[in-house]
Point group: C2
């Protein structure tokens, strides 16, 4: 009397996607089967292909199909600057600014003791080896300004300082076009504390 | 300098899922690759398997691995009652009530002229052939009480009445445990209009 098993299996498998609960998974499964079987086929193949071809860049830790990603292999990037971000998405955001010409290291996460994610789980040893290659002169911490991102930046600044590296942190403050009236007090306070000579 | 193509392809392919925009697709792709490659593999296989094995039940139009689904083939269901629902999810909800022992027909959608979904697209001819098999005596319209669900029910009641069938519609009113104070006016009005002798 129950639903067929390969449908149940598809619904269950869709739940491995972040933010997808039983209801969404059911909706997605019916959508794929009924409205978009071609898209479903393409998705199945894309997952398969990505799992087979993608690995981590030996230098910056992001996903790539090669041993070293195009960015790390480029002679046009400044190898003395190393920007540390949490996720590949953050790297993309940074690149879109066209304000930075150095290299990156992608943590693929952040310190999160409650989830059991510490320095070991994030592979900080690889990062330290990368940052102390003798070429990097400045490490720019560009983790998020969340509690966990801040804790990660704080921890990293200590271990990197201990190795004699110059460490900086991207600035907090009002957004471009931001108005005091519509900013939260903590942001305005931080903008005041981190004020610059003008 | 750009992201590798198999990653881009995965992100693009994930967008075929309902409610998934570019940002969510990116987040999902990184989650699959980084946190849950096993889940990703399972998902790829489940999609593939579902596409290969699932088809529509010849009688009720829902997804099944057989010519006729278990429910339609069961001798324990009352074949004189046919309940019409929009989606398989709705059928499941109806079944969970244990209040209905008849058979179903799943429209796999609703009339939606703006999206170009009319009687033809929903395959109403198959439904009419099913409802006029000489065994069905009552058709219960259980489409949603949205504008489109209501329009679908209205249209169906006309064509089914024209074929001499008894047609009913599930009731509107306050939910079980519902309080007037917290119900919207339209629902309370409908509950008043559809009041029953007591």
């Amino acid at each position: 009397m129950s639903s067929p098993s390969s449908l149940d299996e598809l619904i269950e498998a869709l739940r491995c996607l972040p933010g997808v609960g039983p209801k969404s998974a059911q909706r997605m499964a019916y959508h794929l089967l009924q409205r978009n079987p071609r898209g479903a086929e393409r998705l199945g193949q894309a997952i398969d292909h990505a799992l087979k071809t993608l690995r981590r860049c030996a230098r910056c830790n992001t996903f790539t199909e090669d041993e070293v990603c195009d960015r790390c292999a480029s002679p046009r990037r400044d190898p003395t600057q190393l920007c540390i971000v949490e996720m590949p998405v953050d790297l993309n955001t940074m690149e879109q600014t066209h304000a930075y010409g150095g290299l990156y290291y992608v943590l693929m996460g952040r310190l999160s003791p409650l989830d059991g994610i510490g320095p070991k789980e994030l592979g900080f040893e690889r990062l330290l080896a990368r940052a102390t290659d003798g070429v990097v002169k400045e490490v720019i911490l560009a983790t998020n300004f969340t509690n966990e991102g801040e804790a990660t930046a704080h921890y990293l600044s200590e271990v990197l300082h201990a190795r004699g590296l110059k460490v900086s942190r991207i600035a907090r403050g009002l957004p471009v076009g931001g108005e005091l009236e519509y900013s939260d007090a903590a942001t305005v306070a931080q903008a005041f504390i981190e004020r610059r000579d003008y």
